[in-house]
């Protein structure tokens, strides 16, 4: 079940408004598709990302996949716990397995993202 209070990118990242920033993670659907996550690489704090741009990579069962920035802005936080335990993303994708915190460049950064219901429609049948 996708939490209703989040917004979703077609590329399977979620976004949670948190004060002036946005917390970003991978959806349960993405995590289930990836199965056993072994490595994750995230952008450095202070770097800038454009919406839709690759901002990190994840390895699972010999497959490497890109992680895309659902919103543009500055990376102001990275979940350091994932460096020693990437499986946190699989165990708790909407909580302790969050990926990065982004300070958005402009308002309305979430307008192009999907609601939980729209995202569920995109992934149903897969």
């Amino acid at each position: 079940m996708n939490p209703k209070d989040l917004k979703y990118a077609k590329t399977h990242e979620w976004v949670r408004p948190e004060g002036e920033n946005y917390l970003v993670g991978l959806t349960r659907f993405a995590v289930d598709q990836l199965t056993d996550i072994t490595y994750i690489e995230l952008p450095k704090v202070g770097s800038r990302v454009e919406p839709g741009e690759g901002m990190g990579e994840v390895e699972s069962v010999k497959a490497v996949s890109d992680i895309y920035a659902p919103v543009g802005g500055e990376i102001v936080g990275v979940n350091d716990a994932l460096a020693s335990d990437a499986s946190l993303v699989s165990r708790d994708p909407y909580g302790e397995g969050w990926l990065v915190r982004i300070c958005p460049e402009k308002s309305g950064a979430l307008d192009h993202l999907l609601s939980a219901d729209e995202y569920a429609k995109q992934t149903e049948g897969n």
């Binding site: 072994t38 490595y39 390895e59 069962v61 010999k62 497959a63 996949s65 890109d66």
Partner: protein, 248 residues
Amino acid sequence: MGHPFNSLRLMPLEVNPGTLAMAFDELLLENASSGQPALRFYQWYKPTVSLGYFQPFEVASNFEGMDVVRRPTGGDLLIHHHELTYALALPDSALPSKAEELACLVHRVIACVLASLGVPTACQPSKGKLQVPDAPEGVLCFLHPAAGDVLAGGFKVVGSAQRRRQEALLQHGSILLRASEWAPWLKGVSDVAPADLTALQLADILRLEIPKALGMAVTHSDWTESERNRAQHIAVTRYASSAWNQRR
């Protein structure tokens, strides 16, 4: 380029240096992102170590004197010598619902083809570890069969890895033909069964059987001039660069 995108573009068998092999595979993925599925087979110009995308460069130190290239795909270290390598790139629209099913599908085809050529094979049921005396601990892909990998005579002889990008997937994999003096702990299909298979013989059959299993028509085609130039560019700027190969 005149290739209908609903058919699988089938490239000729070629021999590539490792850096160019990875560049052509990446180009295959770029093309798949634009909707063009393709399959190619190749051999390696000289014995080469390939590192998994996330592996530290130091693990290659066990194989001093060999060429080293970092793959765009995951998994562990491979010794490419007497083998046939395949690369398959598909747009999302042509993928099974779970990407690892593609590895199983291709592996099943290879296993059936090997069996028909007199090599009894088995599919690894779940993640495992092969006990081979004197082999370097923990870094060699072919000592760690994953679910769906193909075994023959108790040795892993076929393994694959993937790279997923937005809207496309690259899967490439190795079929070991014979043991290499660089990795005597591993065996190829001709070492474990009374069948002396050549890369060309195997590629000719797989070029028919893999598209059939995917349910795709094929279009035979070679790289265009501009694709060759693009691959050279990728090889030089990425796969031949120490910034890429020693990035971890």
